[in-house]
Symmetry: C2
Amino acid sequence: MANTRDRLVEAAFELFAQQGFDRTTVEEIAARAGVGRTTFFRLFPAKEAVIFPDHDALLAAVDARLAAADRTTATVAVAEAARLVLRHYLEEGEVARERYELTRTVSALRDAEIAGQRRYQRLFREHLRGWLDGPGAPLRAEVLANAVVTAHNHVLRDWLRGESSEPEAALSAALADFVPRLWSDAPRGATPGGQIVVLRSDRDVEELLPRLRRLLAE
Amino acid sequence: MANTRDRLVEAAFELFAQQGFDRTTVEEIAARAGVGRTTFFRLFPAKEAVIFPDHDALLAAVDARLAAADRTTATVAVAEAARLVLRHYLEEGEVARERYELTRTVSALRDAEIAGQRRYQRLFREHLRGWLDGPGAPLRAEVLANAVVTAHNHVLRDWLRGESSEPEAALSAALADFVPRLWSDAPRGATPGGQIVVLRSDRDVEELLPRLRRLLAE
């Protein structure tokens, strides 16, 4: 038998689907899950929160993945952390699709979702801030963090709408494209001798990049 | 004498500064401006809106600037449209600083500000979508739009905090850096011979190449 938390989430999604978010009370959700109102509020701060029951756990997982990286493995960590979030939604399947429908129609849920996205942006930004150098690093960290979250959300949205059958591959491709473009410090206009090297390789770029950077930085 | 709209904005900012946003009623704002409650709601949909009185006009100006561009002048138009918004806040001066303090402390205003940012993002994204090519264009348009708005907000925030004395130059530099990096289509992963990696280095390329080749051949 599912634990109380899972039962509350399931009951909430069933009731929201049947009678709408606004017309469903916390009391009804709790009753359907066979617990009292107090138990609901012990597990969730508000009715909105039951829609995103794994936000805190996911944020903690992203934080841990990013914290385990250093400067040389950072781009891999960023891509893996983003994939970790995407994979969670893919595994949810129908629940993720129901949430998508709800957040599109209920403004309180859309606000909660936007607030959640900003927590991801902040988390990526803080870790990126520690890895990037140069005078433009704070701004670049913010642009990069928002690009990662934007790419994740875009790919997820395509999948939720049934417009993408390979979201993980799409996210990996997008991040392998955008992240290196934004990573390095702005080329100083005055740098004499700054050259551009174009390489072609069959190798996994994400695995290769940290080693290339080390070689160039020597 | 200022028009009714300006008087309402001025009265609202004075009252918010004196007694806080939450404790100020629309009736008080209207009374201080010498008009009735109905006049307030004819000009502003809600108490929050009086804090951002020029949002619609600014969005229309951004829309017009972007609509006047074509594909060949698009990057210039994007930079000018962003500068146009920044310049508006710089000209507001102290009013912009007071708004910043209010949005930091009043969650209803923060929500309204976030909603406003999303309107800018959507506007830039829609125009960018028409200029970009390739299968990844919708995602790239969204990442680019968010990068432009992120750069604008970052530079504006630095200025509002007194941490930047040349915000216009900072925004121009940031956009001249980020926009071209993100503009072009990704090198196709299916290109025979694998992926393309573009590196920039101050090092002597001839000395570097043998070591790069070894690394790629491993």
